[in-house]
Symmetry: C2
Subunit: 191 residues, 2 copies
């Protein structure tokens, strides 16, 4: 018997990530992915039944990783304000370190190539964030408006902020953009 090689699957996923962000889903033939990943066409289809399954897996992974990185250490903070700020900084840090994954998320967030179920699963990882908002409202730290609305506003502002921070090469300026962005979000939410 032989064991499936996590290395090969990983190589395929990583290559696909880069190529999909650079050339789009339809613009990248599976043959190119397998070639760049150093495996045969057949191998790609051994690990992923279809091209769609490949992008779906990729989407789930990236979303899940992003959510995990963002939530890192927020229970250590006690106030909603501090939690939110920590979360924002985590998000920014991850985005700076993984621009390809970030671009991938943006590019395929509304894409019909990614299945509805993958989109839903991706969303689900960020639900803890809505709870965080809800708790902040209960504690009187956050303005009492519909939490799901605040969550949307915060998430999109965050994403816009990171994209903008990435557009400059200067580290100092990036930090300034991030701090300003976090201020914007906090002032928008606080009671």
């Amino acid at each position: 018997m032989r064991e499936p090689s996590p290395d090969k699957q990983e190589a395929i996923l990583e290559t696909a990530l880069t190529l999909f962000t650079e050339r789009g889903f339809a613009g990248t033939p599976t043959s190119l992915i397998s070639k760049e990943a150093g495996v045969a066409t057949g191998t790609l289809f051994f690990y992923f039944k279809t091209k769609e399954e490949l992008i779906d897996t990729l989407y789930r992974r990236v979303k899940s990783e992003a959510a995990k990185e963002m939530s890192r250490g927020i229970d250590k903070e006690k106030s909603a304000k501090a939690k939110l700020r920590r979360l924002g900084r985590n998000a920014a840090g991850w985005g700076m370190k993984n621009p390809a994954k970030l671009k991938f998320m943006e590019q395929f967030a509304h894409s019909p190539f990614v299945s509805t179920s993958a989109h839903e699963e991706g969303m689900s990882h960020f639900l803890f964030l809505e709870d965080l908002v809800r708790q902040g409202i209960q504690d009187g730290e956050i303005r009492n408006v519909e939490p799901s609305g605040l969550f949307c506003l915060m998430a999109s502002a965050l994403s816009g902020m990171i994209a903008h921070a990435l557009s400059t090469g200067d580290r100092k300026e990036r930090e300034r953009i991030i701090e300003d962005g976090l201020d914007f979000i906090w002032f928008g939410m606080k009671a």
Copy 2:
């Protein structure tokens, strides 16, 4: 001689808009577009040299229309706060009335199918917004941080807000989402 028919070109663009948002760029064959638009394949390629030229034209048009609608009547307002609120309401109103166009913009904002030049032209229509922010800072109404950063934050929050408002059918709730969103944005910006 015969004149090119604006009607046919319009029908093609309108059909393409719907199909692209529903099925993606690569997912919609030109043959389907022409069929649904009620013209022959050849006619589509008479009005648009390539499929890319078609989506580019569409992108430019939609972005330009969106910008125009958003800026409607903002010179009537005197304060930055009032201008911003008017702009936000315009944007929301347009988005509610043109969900397909909005979805198209979101879906293709980061798409490699749309040429760089079309992306740039699309962006350029929203530059007046950055000036508005700059003016507000000068007048002491808006917090003194880099205007381009504020612009990004505002734009992404706005877009997130509209998408969220569209997800409910109830008119009253929509209005609440919009008012809450505009508050969020304003509190985030004001001095």
